[in-house]
Symmetry: C2
Subunit: 457 residues, 2 copies
């Protein structure tokens, strides 16, 4: 068999760094969400770019699928081996290769996680801004075009990856971009690879932008009388140009879930969590302006966290939203979905979603990076109940239809994987075909993460 | 002949909006810089996307080159018809199609210029930020991935184009992106088209980000004892995180050129021109911090422009740098080049360039958007003197070699066109080949702006 022939070659290259143990295969066949266990045929643990290129060349010779693996925290089944093949686990390629503090950039290997990078940067006065919640690998974050709580201020992975090294489907190693902050030198291959979910190349090195640690930070959480008031406060804040570093929404159910899971005592109401970065006076001014706007929309119980440990607790709670949601129904699986709409349509999109969930037979939470017009729903369902599964899939589908109807996108930050493949034609029309043409040009055998993002005939 | 057959078809489609008059051909065969007059075979003036698609389909049937034309202000021969064919002039597609003030975006046709757009936006409290100096068309700016004075704060065209409509080489019309502020839904085709210089598609509609007009603006110009001091003040300012809206460098020769051309009285010394956007207190704070840093590097003669008309005069002077440079040697042609390096290497890059120009037999100026590590040289040479032409080409080549040696790029914002095609292999290595593979996949006949950006075998 072609996959077996590839594995024999890979064994020679990697020795015991090619694993076929059941536990390893199961680990690389699982996900945090509702996809079935889908183990690969083997897991490879390369240590160098050269090894990655050799792995891909061997797989290309035998037509064996190659799927990159970071930390397994993606949400749409991106890294699952639905057609078998080799999972390339980057955990041994997790080093900071070069810190350029003067240029505020850093060159890293793809297996490094964002928290490990920030730990490494602690003494430098610099930080890496993109924060999807999970302690994901930086390679994986690039591949899903991740964003998260701070994108409203510092941008997404699209904005924070300056340059890449990648192994293409034929084993060629390319470098895209430079450490210069901008360039007009030809097609933006860095931008093409970011968000390509491992279907066009395996990233083996990333050059990332860093930002200066702000002189002052101030965060707050406040409750609103209803969802509409909270969302409209966000819209007004964005339109007034108040420079938010973070502006997060959680609905009433999510607030309740935090109370049980994180042991806090939030009013059972929709909340906003905000953070401001800047100079002492700038932060004070921004906070005051936000306070005024929020007040106009009936915000109450402002709880300001100016001490670092209070902020840390606040964002830790927020980052555990997925586990807090799951705890609403012990033993349940979560369907986690995300959409993004123009900010003027946000209130409508959130409200319709809330009504959908209110009418559902399963519990659900809504939360999101509303400064970008981006929000998530988590639906806790019984995996063994076909009716419940169908119901949550329908809810998720309705969210996507809503996003497209309101001029938005089927996913703001989670990506396509297999979970949202069915919406690509509706969102992109003919342009989806163009994505397929690019894929075919660069990976004619369709060995790189086959079955994701594009559909080839 | 194939081109003639195409023109016959185009006449039927466009009537007298297909022009073959000598004056029109010459106008569309010229450029502001050192490229020879290269007229197309005809100029088409479409009025709708549908017409653009029909033009491209007719040209595709006959293998006739199709070259987009905005305002003709590109600097590397991007829009010249080196292989003949049809110049598609977008001047009749110059409307604002939809202003979404609440979402701070606008949908426009490609022939609209940036100044016309901003004039249109005057009453809205919003503005379009990208400012390359010339009053270029927005379609052209997208195609060269233009940036300019405000990119340090608001980003380049890469950051400010949300969505596109484009006609592909086979006449298919696609839409890329949505009005949502971010998306992870598949390959970033918007980003692939931006900077593709009309080689992958003709843009027929753009959705652009807008920004809120700042509450307060303050600008200043100040002189430095030498170039090193000025450039190091920039580096320190960026590294301190002072939020600059603009930070422009001009060298001693450029200051002298402004004095003659714009009737100002700048000291004959290197200068920085800066601008701050924000709240009243924020701007005052930023200006004070910049003043301190600049003072440490010996800045003198601070001239603050807080009145709108003074700022307008300042930036008008800056935007006329090209004409002021040309006036240093009446009758001369200009070679205008731009490179971009990591900010830590900026002083070195500028100083080596200054020495090169000082040793040259022709006058030259240096200026640039130094907050991005990006700067330009303009070299005024006698077009009829082969020796001078060779000398300025060598100077330009040395600048690119310097940029690449220092970890930068051969062009920060002007693009490749034909002028910088010779450096693509050195800058991108194997990745240049990948650009060619994408071009071949999307334009197998190579009819869209052939001979630019990529080289096909």
């Amino acid at each position: 068999m072609t996959i077996d022939a590839a594995l024999t070659e890979l064994s020679t290259i990697l020795g015991n760094r090619l694993s076929r143990s059941k536990s390893d295969l199961d680990l690389h066949g699982g996900s945090e969400t509702h996809f079935p266990l889908t183990p690969p045929d083997a897991v490879a643990y390369p240590e160098t770019t050269e090894e990655v290129a050799r792995i891909v060349k061997a797989c290309a010779r035998h037509g064996c699928p190659v799927i990159g693996w970071g930390t397994g925290t993606s949400l749409e089944g991106h890294a699952l081996a639905f057609q078998g093949g080799v999972s390339v686990d980057f955990s041994r390629m997790n080093k900071v290769l070069q810190l350029n503090a003067d240029d505020m950039d850093v060159v890293v290997q793809p297996g490094l996680t964002r928290e490990a990078l920030n730990e490494d940067l602690r003494a430098t006065g610099l930080f890496f801004s993109v924060d999807p919640g999970a302690d994901a690998s930086l390679g994986g974050m690039a591949m899903t075009r991740a964003s998260g709580t701070t994108a409203v201020r510092y941008g997404t992975m699209r904005d924070n990856v300056l340059a890449l090294e990648a192994v293409l489907a034929d084993g060629r190693v390319i470098r895209t971009g430079t450490r210069a902050r901008k360039s007009s030198a030809g097609y933006d291959l860095t931008g093409l690879l970011v968000g390509s979910e491992g279907t066009l190349g395996l990233v083996t090195e990333l050059t990332l932008k860093l930002h200066g640690t702000p002189e002052a930070i101030s965060a707050a959480v406040c409750a609103f009388p209803d969802m509409d008031a909270a969302v409209n406060a966000v819209i007004a804040t964005i339109q007034m140009g108040v420079p938010m570093a973070r502006i997060e929404f959680v609905d009433r159910s999510m607030a309740a879930a935090f109370n049980s899971y994180a042991g806090v005592r939030l009013p059972e109401a929709p909340h906003l969590m905000v953070e401001f970065h800047g100079s002492e006076t700038g932060v004070a001014e921004d906070a005051a302006r936000f306070g005024e706007i929020a007040g106009e929309f009936g915000a109450d119980g402002f709880d300001w966290a100016t001490r670092a440990e209070d902020r840390k607790a606040l964002w830790k709670m927020r980052h555990n939203a997925h586990y807090a949601s799951l705890a609403l129904r012990p033993g349940a699986r979560a369907l986690v979905t995300d959409i993004c709409v123009p900010i003027s349509r946000l209130a409508e999109a959130v409200e319709e979603t809330r009504q959908d969930i209110a009418g559902a037979s399963v519990p659900g939470t809504i939360l999101g990076h509303v400064g970008d017009g981006n929000f998530h729903a988590e639906l806790m369902f019984d995996d063994t109940d076909a009716g419940e599964r169908a119901e949550v899939m329908r809810l998720s589908e309705r969210m996507v239809e809503r996003a497209l109807r309101l001029g938005g996108t089927s996913t703001g930050e989670h990506g396509i994987g297999v979970g949202k493949l069915g919406y690509m034609a509706a969102e992109h029309g003919e342009a989806w075909g163009v994505m397929g043409e690019i894929k075919r040009a660069l990976d004619p055998q369709n060995i790189l993460n086959p079955g994701k993002v594009v559909r080839l005939n």
